[in-house]
Subunit: 466 residues, 2 copies
Amino acid sequence: MMNKKFENMKRLFNPESVAVIGASDKFDKLGFHVMKSLTTGGYRGKIIPVNPSAKEIMGIKAYPSISAYSGNIDLAIIAVPAKFVSQIFDECHEKGVGGIVLITAGFKEIEDPEGAKNQELLKEKAESYGIPVIGPNTFGMINLTYDLNASFTPEFSRTKKGNIALVSQSGGMSHLLSFLSQRHDVGYSKIVGIGNRLNVDFYEMLMFLKDDPDTKVIALYIEGIDNPVLMMKAIEQVHTQKPVIAYKTGSSKSGDLASKSHTGSMAGRYELYIGGLKQAGAIVVNSAEELMDTAKALATSSIPNGNRVAVLSGQAGPGMAASDTAEDMGLVLPPFTDKTQERINELLPPMAIRINPVDMGPAWYDAAATREIIDVAMRDENIDAVILLIMYASANIKAVEGITDMLVEWKQKKPIITCISAPPGIWDKEVRFLEENFAITNYASPERAAKALGNLWKYRKILSRR
Amino acid sequence: MMNKKFENMKRLFNPESVAVIGASDKFDKLGFHVMKSLTTGGYRGKIIPVNPSAKEIMGIKAYPSISAYSGNIDLAIIAVPAKFVSQIFDECHEKGVGGIVLITAGFKEIEDPEGAKNQELLKEKAESYGIPVIGPNTFGMINLTYDLNASFTPEFSRTKKGNIALVSQSGGMSHLLSFLSQRHDVGYSKIVGIGNRLNVDFYEMLMFLKDDPDTKVIALYIEGIDNPVLMMKAIEQVHTQKPVIAYKTGSSKSGDLASKSHTGSMAGRYELYIGGLKQAGAIVVNSAEELMDTAKALATSSIPNGNRVAVLSGQAGPGMAASDTAEDMGLVLPPFTDKTQERINELLPPMAIRINPVDMGPAWYDAAATREIIDVAMRDENIDAVILLIMYASANIKAVEGITDMLVEWKQKKPIITCISAPPGIWDKEVRFLEENFAITNYASPERAAKALGNLWKYRKILSRR
């Protein structure tokens, strides 16, 4: 895929200059919000507002057209009515623009068949010009690593930087995932709304992200698939190098119908697609939260070599909940080696559950004992990963502090998936420190922690198929 | 159940005076944390620290024994080693104490059979004295309505006041649910850790909560069940008046084993218990988050009369995700009446999905249109409940404001379950206002919103069985 369009993808995502066609000072224009995103998102390149009836927009000199600007333009964001787009494509070509984000709606997704026809014409143009186009009918895209917010929502820039790339067919789902991730401290490299996929579909995005140094994990939100063969081919090529997680909606009768209208393509044949995605090597998930949780695990944890997990809990109940979910996900809780079990028996009084899942409760006041239980379990040759659960109580306020250096030193040589939970404001800093040092991957509940580990294990199984 | 023990339950939960036996000034004693909970939790009754070697604890006059205190004692919280407990029970009886919270561990749950024997002896005593005992092996209990924090975790008092009573066999799970609820703004009347259930088991708690004016919804976390027949009987008697939600762990081999050790009773026969719980009228859920989400729905929403739902979304993707989950939960998305559909077709341009699930996206800039779409869908005779999904974008920042008065006026005559999502700090106030006025019940994701509505529908089905 080393054609001109593909080469231009780098200019599209890492532009030194961005023109906003339809830039505006008026709140009710999308061009206003796009300008806000660019100007407040920390973008360090050149911004060129284009509007025939403005001298200046948000304090930046405006131009009547892109040709009126003398410099180079890498990326053009288009936010004008559909009828003007074809001519703007020609101008972009003449100007040597590298890529386009086409926010404008009113193409393949509308009832009027003219919409689909116009999209087809635009596609032919873009292909002949070798210009990759994100959209139409999209909020845009954000390259967080590059501080480029080429979308109509400035608050996307509040998303934490990380190495997950989200490629989504739905703007609403992209917004939701960003907001959830802002609350859960999950970091992204890119968030891309591919909308109606003029000539940049899942296939092109996957092939581009395969070599994107900022991206380690690829998360997909899928409604309909126009070209399933190409998409599966791309997943096959990418997934051994970078895990691909897929959330596909449209299992319901009503959702299926909705998909047709929304993205201009048939969702249909849900089970067939799910089977295809799994076959191609994607990790298939069933909700927005599971997509985020799984992407976070793959972005921050090591991958377990096997499915044998030790559940170590400061309290028995959460340990049981995690054990149930773990077994549901295909994980097992094996007995420890004799050596490990003997040591744990020495460290814990006989009133606790000392076999796997371990109830470390009675070691609360004995930080050294807790440390050593975690340490011997992690070193156990029967154990591939650890689920560690600690619920705050005022008596155990030092529980996290007491194990921090050990966890940081381990750096998830085996995955350490945790639910360390406390009232807001307590342990937030400690958990963030541990996560930023890749010592743990933390979740809001024991069940979500166990599910995330289950999906890490799925990835190991997918890798071992090859 | 109008015996003395049951009458004393009211004194236990609404005491005018509380003795802390084992009160301490030392951080490493549980009696320290219990004193903190009582003194910082806003309790307005009399606190009596009992400790033979202290004159004063946390500025409150201490007594060497409860008999040394001349006044009345409604509740005694015991946090001393197991060997002293039997004698303290006798003293409590002589003093006329109404109820006991027995935090002390080391009874039925320990490997030494002496533990179970001692618990049995204590039980006989408590029964003959007519004293209800919460515990042993518990963090305690919190009556939030009454500002009584009789637990060893002061931060339980940060839980929002509401009308859900949580009765839990696990301290860890109770802490987790409180912390999750603090983050999700879910309110409780009581949180009770029944621990090893000396003589207050699920049965007694259910019968007590049946007539508790502060409790509207009962949430149970269950590991093992000693007396399933009595428990099911209680659920049968309570659930038509107050919904009962049950989360039972122990489905896994490992969890099952753990349960035996933890609570001193066999979890076992998981499917059998699940069947029994459903048969008795409980709404069975599968995770801590689902327990919280479902309790919140039942506490704040009306119950739908049928399973026909309208999904109204500001963006198509979240609408599809909600539709998928809704159908999984047994809900259906029927066509609107002709009248409703005609009006929606007038309000939305042909570029949107105008049938159920409705994509209201193109009405973003037209607050009046959005209002009317919601209004006509809610009034539609084909519709029993509405799922409303709005993801923030800077262009639609007024979206929630624009529908607030209408939603408040509707007051969920039909349930309005929402996922209104935005970056932290945006719309938080608006959503809280709507929730506090019982206008909506809001969730973090479209899938969780749809699942909560599905569980409301399950409750309707359970009610209609009778």
